[in-house]
Subunit: 236 residues, 2 copies
DNA sequence: CGACAGGTTGAGTGAGCTCAAGTCGGGTGG
DNA sequence: CCACCCGACTTGAGCTCACTCAACCTGTCG
């Protein structure tokens, strides 16, 4: 526990009135700061992260291009930090008179997507086993990044662990196990190929009874054809 | 797993255009229904509850008098059910033109509190041990119900368990243990007195090293004086 | 009175945590 | 260029906490 949370310096390099850049690991705002404005990601990846008083942390979301974060009021409940180098657009908080200003994008929609995002986080944490959480996380991330082929995960194992409520050891072991079973391929720690999204979907929904029966033949499509589970958390 | 979720009948007893009553256990809306309106609790307790395809459930919140639920769009991510007999006020969803109608209370504030609520749920689930989760839940519930003396918990052990991501056994054992340690008193399953909120706060934040040292003398105030943890999730 | 639902408690098991090496790649300095 | 370090990741061994299985208690209802 008590992992360091990136360097603190907060050396914001102002580019213009509303465009900001942060280096990898820099803090964008701190938990408990008055929530004066919210942010849209132009490029890069951001994490929001709640610290408990015992030092352990809970990542409440990852945010990619065009996602918005920092909408809670009146204080930020989580800090925000740059996972990679990021470029942000800062939006002044003017909810009351939003529509008169015109330049502020619809706050209602933004709050809605923040709520979806929080719920997606709950649904990840609500899963019981490490395998289910990791599988669900991979699927959600792949969908968000709009991937065909391999995903480039911008965040570390430690970030994933603190997002899923696991340790880095368990995350690493679980990924290795998924790779061993042939569901994913690990091409380096950050680059992951989802070989069998159907099987992952099964795992994510509690079906850990997918034993060997399907290793050589990737006929995953015939397992539970009408998987009409709700698609929640469309965060964009 | 696969617990029953109250009877389904949805026998809404319409009282007027917008006031509805439900009996204990009745479903108010189902997960996946189009989210046509949201609700305010007039009296009673409501739970919102997300079902996974393996049948296990995650309660995403409890709602008491004056709380609002069902604000997500375009589909309800969780079903809503009456924990006790409840009276609700139904509010038509008219977010786009909300303020013109006048009668619809500020949707922005409502979305904000829904977001707080979801975050509070995340912060509960983010806690690691059963003791921490149960202690945090008791404190949050006591605060919400504005209690001095004993809380009357409207929900069952099963509801608490599915809210905290534990089993009813673990919840029950943990409560017994807290009672044995003198931090709470169990006056029947639903009626709980918080004898030592300070100690519970310690437990909730990871300090399970409160051993005996404080059983007879309730001098809790000298343990970690500046406990300036953020007060999150003010859901009202 | 029996049936049943909700709750409590015990015994044993196992998934995930802790502790501890060990690997790998990139940077830095001699 | 190589030695060294450091951070991120992986992997093994053992332990522990919460789950599973099972019994039992209590109050309510027909």
């Amino acid at each position: 526990m008590l992992r360091l949370c990136g360097q603190q310096g907060t050396a914001r390099m102002r580019v213009s009135e509303t465009v900001l850049k942060f280096r990898k690991g820099e803090m964008i705002y701190a938990q408990g700061d008055p929530a004066t404005d919210w942010f849209e990601v132009v490029s890069g990846t951001v994490r929001t992260c709640h610290l408990y008083s015992d030092g352990h942390r809970q990542l409440t979301g990852f945010f990619y291009t065009s996602d918005v974060f920092g909408v809670e009021t009146p204080y930020y409940q989580s800090s925000a930090e740059a996972v990679t180098a990021v470029t942000l657009r800062r939006c002044m908080r003017s909810f009351g008179q939003a529509d008169q200003l015109g330049e502020v994008a619809a706050p209602l929609g933004i709050l809605q997507s923040a709520l979806s995002n929080a719920q997606a986080c709950i649904f990840l944490l609500g899963r019981r086993t490490a395998t289910e959480r990791v599988a669900a996380f991979l699927l959600a991330t792949a969908r968000r990044l709009g991937v065909r082929g391999s995903i480039r995960l911008p965040m570390s194992r430690s970030d994933i662990a603190d997002h899923l409520g696991l340790t880095i050891h368990t995350v690493s072991r679980t990924l290795s196990e998924l790779s061993r079973r042939g569901f994913i391929a690990l091409d380096g720690p950050q680059s992951i190929t989802l070989c069998s999204p159907e099987a992952l979907r099964q795992l994510a929904e509690g079906g850990d009874d997918i034993i060997e029966s399907r290793l050589p033949s990737p006929s995953a499509s015939l397992m539970r054809p009408g998987n009409a589970a709700l698609v929640y958390g469309a965060q964009s």
